[in-house]
C-alpha cells in the first residue's frame, strides 16, 4: 500500500487519505463566458505529468496539497495551503 506524507501527521498509508481533485483555478464567475464556466465545471485535464492535487488526511481532517507525477505515481512534495512543508 502506498504511503502519503501528511504535512502534520507524517507518512501514513494511502487508505487514510481522501483525494480532493486537481487544484484548478476558478474563472471569475462575474466576467467569464458560459462556455468558459462550463469548461471549468465539467472538463478535467488528463494530461500526464506533474499535478497539484488536494488531499485530505481523513482521521484528522487536515487538507493539504500534493505535487504528484502521474507518469510515475510518485509524490514529489506535500505542503499545507499556508505553505508549511512536510518534513520526512
Amino acid at each position: 500500500m502506498k504511503l502519503l506524507t501528511c504535512p502534520l501527521n507524517g507518512p501514513r498509508p494511502i487508505s487514510e487519505f481522501v483525494y480532493g481533485g486537481e487544484v484548478r483555478p476558478m474563472p471569475d464567475p462575474d466576467t467569464c463566458t458560459d462556455a468558459e464556466w462550463s469548461d471549468y465545471v465539467f472538463n478535467r485535464s488528463g494530461v500526464a505529468g506533474v499535478k497539484r492535487e488536494w488531499w485530505c488526511h481523513g482521521p484528522s481532517g487536515v487538507w493539504f496539497l500534493a505535487e504528484r507525477d502521474t507518469t510515475t505515481d510518485t509524490i514529489l512534495r506535500t505542503y499545507l495551503a499556508s505553505g508549511v512543508e512536510a518534513s520526512r
Partner: protein, 974 residues
C-alpha cells in the same frame, strides 16, 4: 531412491518416525521430511501426472519451483487441495493422493492422451472448438479432464488471519548472501526481518557442497549468528508473494498472511536452476542438480543409484562430487560446452582422479523409460553449434539424470518493485541495471555466484540498506556485480531438437519445442503473444523453468539476440497463494445512535440508512407493518410523537467569517439570519445540482450550528474543511455529529409535554416557529430548534450524546398522559410527503437542480457568490429538462406504485415516481414524480406499476397537507 545414512546438518529427526499413506499405500518418513522427500525416501519415483498429456512425473526442483509436486492431502478431518509437496512438512497420519488422475496415479486412464498428443498441438482448442453450438459441451469435457485438486466443500473451514509487521530492512531469501546481508544490516543498527520459503535458512550454502563441508560449516555459523542476533527476526516456511507500493510486501506463512512495511528491502532470492530440453526430459528420475542436492543433504535421500550429469557450468561438476560423496554411482559428466571454464576444469580433475568420464561438446539427445514409466537410459550425442550432430549416439543405462545447465534469476519481486534489468552477456542472464530507492539486491539474482563472493556482496548490500534507513552515506561502496566470476553459469541454448518431439519446454503445460515453432509460424512471434498462444509460463509455476528457454527459442526463431526479445511482465503472486490466505472476513460496520437499546426495548424493526441502524417502525403486537406505521403517523398528527434523529450530521462553525462562509456554501442567505433563529439550507455543487440540505441556526454573531443529511455528514464536513482552507477564511469547523444526540418531539401536544421538562419559555411569543433556544431539558443542557419537517408543531432537541437515554426516557414518561408515541423513519417519510418536502437523494438525483425541484424559494441569486450560482445563471436561461411535481392516484387500488416506476404520457415515457405512499391523514395515495415540463404543465399522467398495469394520477399542488402551514406555526397550542 532410498534413505542414506545420517549426515551432519540433515533436516530430519530420525527419532521421530511418522506414518502416512500415498495413493492408499502405507509409507513412513521422519519429522522434518517434506511430502516430497518422504516419498523419495520410500522409493516413490512417480508422484503425479502432467496437466495435458497425463505423463508420469517425478521430483524436479524439490524447492517448490515446479508444479509436478502438487498433492491432495486429507488430514485431521480436513481435505486440503493443491498442497505444495516440496515445502509441506510431513505429519503423522496424512493421507496423500496425486492430483489430476482418473483411476489413480499408477493406472491413470487419461494417459491415453499422451499417445494422442499428435492431434492435440498447442492452441488446438482455438481451432477446433469455436462452434457456438458445441462449445459448451467441449468446455464441460475439458473442465472435467483438466484441473488439479478436487475441492471438498464439506471439509472444515480454515481461518487464516492477517497480521501487520514493520521492519527497517526486510531481507527476502536466507541463502548465503541473504544471511550475510541480514547480519550486516543488523550489525549496522537496523531492525531486520529475514524470510525464507524453506523450513530452514542456509539455501545453497548447505546443499551445494561439491563433495566438501567448508561452505556448509560457514553457512551454519552465519545461521547461528542470525539466530542469536537480537535485531534479526527470522521467518522460515514463509515466502514473499508480492511487492506493492512503498516497500509493502505480502508474506505468506503456513498459517497467516503478514503484511510488512519495510523502510528498505533486500532481494536475495537467488536463481532458479533451469532444465535442459531434450526428448523425454520429463521422465521421473530426471531432475535439476540442485533438486538432487537438496534431497542428498537436507533429507539424506539418494534420488537414484546411478546418475548421468548433464551440465554447462561448475555447479554440475560440484553436484557430481556430491553424488560420489554420498555413494551414488556417476556414469559420466556430459558438458554441453566444448571448452569448459577454469572452475569446471579444476573440479573435472577431481572427478578424473576418481575415474569419472567427462565428455564435452555433447548433450543428451533423448531419454527412454523402462516398463515402470521411469528413466532407464539416455542417448548421448555430439553437439555442433546448438544442434545434435547425429541421431545415433551412445546409450547409457542410468536411473537418474541431473541437469545443471544454467539459472534464471528470481527477479520477479525486483521487477514488481520497479527495478530495470539489462542482459549481461558474460553471465547469460539479466541483472538489475537500476534499482528504486530503498530496494537492494544481492547474490545470484544480481549475477554473483561464488560462495565467498555472495557473502561479500551480501555484507556490502546489508550495510547499504542500513545506511539508507539511517539516512547516512554507506561505508561500503558498490563493487562490480559479477564479483569473482570465472565462467558463465548459464548455457545460452541448452536445448536439443528431436524429430519425435516430446522435448518439453514447459512442464506445467506440456509444451514441446515444436509448439513454439508452430506459434511463431501462426504469427505469434512477440514474447507476450507467444505466451498467450502457447500458455508458456501460465501454469502454477509461473514460468520459473520455462520463461527463459521460451525467450531463447524465440530468439533463435527470430534470429535476434535474446536481450532483444524482452521479458513478460512479472506480476504478483510469486507462488500460487491459497485463497484462504487472501480471503478476508466480511466487514461492514454499522453505526448505532446512543438510543439503540431503548429502540430495541420498544420493539424497533431496524433498517439501514447508509451505515446507520435506524428504527423503520416500532412493532405493535397484533398489528401488521402498515397498521403500525399508520398508528405512528396518527399519533404525530393528533397527539405527539418522538423520533430519534441523532444520525443527522451536526456541525458547528465559529469565527468572524462564519456567516460569509455559510453564504458561500449554501444557496440561501445567512448573514441576515437573526441570533436565535434557524433557516433551511440547500447545498449545491459547482454544476448547480442539489447535494445536501439541512437547517442552519445562529447561536451568536459569529457562531452557527447546522445539520446535514444522515448519509452526507462526513463528506460535507470534509468538503467544508477544504473550502475553508482554499478560501483562507477565518473560521473553525467542529464536527459534532457524534457529540450530540437529537430527537424530534412533534405533534400538536408536543409543547405541553416539553413544558414539563424544560426551563426554556416555549410560549409562541418567546420561542416562535424556526426559533433556536438553548437551555435545559430534563436537567441536561440542550439546544432546541422549532422545525417543521413533519408539518406539525415540533421541537428538535439536541443534547450531549451521553445524556440521550435519560432525556429520551424523560420525554416518553412526561408524555405518557398524552400517549406520546415513538415513531420511525417510515412514518417520518409519510409525514414529510404529506407536507410535500423532498428528500435529497431520493426525490433528487445527481442531475437535479433547485429549479427542477421547485426550490427557487431557497436560493438567493442576488448574493455576490455561492457555489452553483454561476451554473444556475446558465440554467435559468434554458428550458427545464424535468420538474418535480406532486400527484395523487385517481383510484388507489391494492397495488401501489413504487419509487422508480415509469410515468407515461400519451404512451411515451415522461418521467418516474420518486416518492409514493398511502397517506392515512388524507386517505389517499400521494407521491412525488420527476416529469417532463410538458407533463408538469398538464393535469394528469399514468404510472406503469408492477405487472405492467397502468394507473391514473392527477397532478396535485404541494403540499398535500396544511397548505397554509398553520399547524407547524401553531400560535395557539392545545
Amino acid at each position: 531412491m532410498r534413505r542414506l545414512p545420517p549426515l551432519s546438518g540433515e533436516w530430519i529427526d530420525r527419532k521421530q518416525p511418522l506414518a502416512f499413506t500415498f495413493e492408499g499405500q502405507s509409507f513412513s518418513g521422519y519429522a522434518g521430511d517434506t511430502l516430497s522427500s518422504a516419498l523419495a525416501a520410500n522409493g516413490q519415483k512417480i508422484i503425479g501426472r502432467s496437466f495435458k498429456y497425463h505423463r508420469p512425473r517425478g521430483l524436479l526442483s524439490v524447492a517448490n519451483h515446479d508444479s509436478n509436486a502438487i498433492m491432495q492431502v486429507q488430514h485431521l478431518g480436513r481435505v486440503i487441495p493443491n498442497v505444495r509437496a516440496d515445502v509441506t512438512p510431513l505429519e503423522d497420519g496424512m493421507r496423500v493422493t496425486a492430483v489430476n488422475t482418473r483411476g489413480g496415479l499408477a493406472r491413470d486412464s487419461l494417459q491415453l492422451l499422451d499417445s494422442l498428443s499428435g492431434f492435440l498441438p498447442v492452441g488446438f482448442y482455438y481451432k477446433a472448438f469455436h462452434s457456438k453450438r458445441f462449445f459448451p459441451k467441449w468446455e464441460r469435457l475439458f473442465r472435467n479432464l483438466t484441473g488439479l485438486s478436487k475441492l471438498d466443500l464439506n471439509s472444515s473451514r480454515r481461518r487464516t488471519p492477517k497480521r501487520y509487521a514493520f521492519a527497517d530492512v526486510l531481507v527476502i531469501g536466507a541463502g548465503p548472501s541473504g544471511l550475510a546481508a541480514a547480519l550486516s544490516a543488523a550489525d549496522s543498527g537496523a531492525e531486520v526481518m529475514l524470510v525464507d520459503e524453506n523450513a530452514w535458512p542456509g539455501g545453497s550454502g548447505l546443499y551445494a557442497r561439491g563433495g566438501q563441508d567448508a561452505d556448509a560449516r560457514q553457512t551454519l555459523q552465519l545461521m547461528e549468528r542470525v539466530r542469536k542476533h537480537t535485531r534479526i527476526q527470522l521467518l522460515c516456511s514463509t515466502y514473499a508473494a508480492g511487492y506493492y507500493a512503498d516497500h509493502w510486501v505480502a508474506l505468506v506463512t503456513p498459517t497467516e498472511m503478514v503484511k510488512v512495511r519495510a523502510r528498505a528491502l533486500i532481494i536475495a532470492q537467488g536463481a532458479f536452476e533451469q532444465p535442459a530440453v531434450f526428448r523425454n526430459n520429463d521422465l521421473p528420475g530426471i531432475m535439476l542438480a540442485s533438486g538432487a542436492q537438496r534431497l542428498l543433504h537436507r533429507y539424506a535421500v539418494a534420488p537414484c543409484d546411478r546418475v548421468l550429469i548433464l551440465t554447462a557450468n561448475p555447479q554440475g561438476y560440484a553436484a557430481a562430487l556430491d553424488a560420489l560423496e554420498r555413494g551414488i554411482d556417476v556414469a559420466a559428466v556430459i558438458d554441453l560446452r566444448t571448452s569448459p571454464g577454469p572452475a569446471s576444469s579444476q573440479l573435472a580433475e577431481r572427478l578424473d582422479a576418481r575415474g569419472i568420464p567427462v565428455r564435452t561438446g555433447a548433450t543428451i539427445g533423448s531419454a527412454s523409460a523402462g516398463r515402470d514409466g521411469c528413466l532407464r537410459s539416455v542417448v548421448v550425442n555430439t553437439r555442433v553449434q546448438d544442434e545434435v550432430a547425429s541421431v545415433t549416439g551412445e546409450s547409457v543405462q542410468v536411473d537418474g539424470v541431473w541437469m545443471s545447465v544454467g539459472f534464471a534469476p528470481a527477479h520477479s519481486l525486483l521487477l514488481q518493485a520497479g527495478a530495470r534489468l539489462q542482459f549481461e552477456t558474460a553471465l547469460g542472464q539479466y541483472v538489475p541495471s537500476s534499482l528504486p530507492a530503498g530496494v537492494f539486491a544481492c547474490g545470484k539474482v544480481t549475477g554473483v555466484y561464488g560462495f565467498t563472493s555472495r557473502l561479500t556482496d551480501g555484507t556490502r548490500v546489508g550495510e547499504q540498506a542500513a545506511a539508507y534507513v539511517q539516512r547516512r552515506a554507506p561505508k561500503l561502496r558498490s563493487t562490480a556485480s559479477t564479483l569473482g566470476l570465472t565462467e558463465m553459469p548459464s548455457h545460452p541454448y541448452p536445448i536439443a531438437s528431436h524429430a519425435k518431439g516430446k522435448n518439453f519446454v514447459d512442464f506445467d503445460e506440456d509444451l514441446q519445442l515444436k509448439d513454439f515453432a508452430n506459434a511463431v509460424q501462426e504469427g505469434f512471434d512477440s514474447i507476450e503473444l507467444l505466451k498467450r498462444y502457447t500458455t508458456v509460463g501460465m501454469g502454477p509455476s509461473q514460468g520459473k523453468h520455462s520463461n527463459l528457454n521460451a525467450m531463447r527459442i524465440l530468439s533463435k526463431l527470430r534470429g535476434e539476440p535474446v536481450e532483444r526479445i524482452g521479458a513478460t511482465t512479472a506480476r504478483p503472486m510469486f507462488h500460487p497463494v491459497p485463497l484462504s490466505h487472501l480471503a478476508g472476513r466480511s466487514f461492514s460496520p454499522e453505526r448505532a445512535t446512543p438510543l439503540a437499546k431503548a429502540h430495541e426495548a420498544l420493539g424497533a424493526v431496524w433498517m439501514l440508512a447508509g451505515q446507520w441502524k435506524r428504527p423503520e417502525y416500532y412493532a405493535v403486537a397484533g398489528l401488521a407493518r402498515a397498521q403500525a406505521i399508520e398508528g405512528e403517523v396518527r399519533a404525530v398528527r393528533t397527539g405527539a410523537g418522538l423520533i430519534d434523529v441523532g444520525t443527522l450530521g451536526k456541525i458547528e462553525i465559529h469565527g468572524p467569517d462564519a456567516a460569509e462562509f455559510l453564504d458561500r456554501v449554501y444557496a440561501g442567505r445567512y448573514g441576515t439570519l437573526k441570533v436565535g433563529m434557524t433557516r433551511y439550507g440547500l447545498m449545491l455543487d459547482e454544476s448547480g445540482v442539489i447535494i445536501d440540505d439541512g437547517v442552519i441556526g445562529r447561536l451568536a454573531d459569529e457562531s452557527f450550528y447546522f445539520t446535514t443529511t444522515t448519509g452526507n455528514s462526513a463528506s460535507i464536513y470534509r468538503e467544508l474543511g477544504r473550502l475553508a482552507t482554499q478560501w483562507n477564511m477565518k473560521i473553525g469547523l467542529v464536527n459534532a455529529t457524534g457529540h450530540y444526540a437529537a430527537f424530534n418531539l412533534a405533534g400538536p401536544l408536543s409543547r405541553r409535554i416539553l413544558t414539563r421538562l424544560t426551563n426554556i419559555d416555549l410560549a409562541q411569543a418567546s420561542f416562535p416557529f424556526l426559533g433556536l433556544r438553548e437551555g435545559t431539558v430534563a436537567g441536561v443542557p440542550a439546544r432546541l430548534m422549532r422545525v417543521g419537517f413533519v408539518g406539525e408543531l415540533g421541537y428538535e432537541i439536541h443534547v450531549p450524546a451521553d445524556s440521550a437515554l435519560h432525556v429520551w426516557d424523560a420525554l416518553l414518561a412526561a408524555g405518557s398522559s398524552e400517549a406520546v408515541r415513538p415513531f420511525g423513519v417510515e412514518a417520518q417519510r409519510v409525514l414529510r410527503l404529506e407536507k410535500g418536502h423532498l428528500i435529497v437523494g431520493q426525490d433528487t438525483d445527481g442531475l437535479t437542480d433547485p429549479l427542477q425541484a421547485g426550490c427557487e424559494w431557497a436560493i438567493k441569486m442576488d448574493k455576490p457568490f455561492f457555489i452553483g450560482q454561476r451554473s444556475l445563471k446558465v440554467l435559468e436561461k434554458k428550458p427545464k429538462r424535468q420538474q418535480l411535481v406532486g400527484f395523487q392516484l385517481v383510484a388507489p387500488g391494492a397495488t401501489l406504485p413504487k419509487e422508480g416506476h415509469l410515468v407515461l404520457s400519451g404512451g411515451e415515457m415522461a418521467g418516474r415516481v420518486t416518492s409514493v405512499t398511502r397517506s392515512p391523514t388524507l386517505n389517499a395515495v400521494i407521491g412525488l414524480a420527476m416529469v417532463t415540463p410538458a407533463v408538469a404543465a398538464s393535469t394528469a399522467f399514468r404510472i406503469r406499476i408492477d405487472g405492467g398495469r397502468e394507473v391514473d394520477a392527477t397532478i396535485t399542488p404541494l403540499p398535500f397537507y396544511d397548505a397554509a402551514g398553520t399547524r407547524q406555526k401553531m400560535v395557539e397550542a392545545p
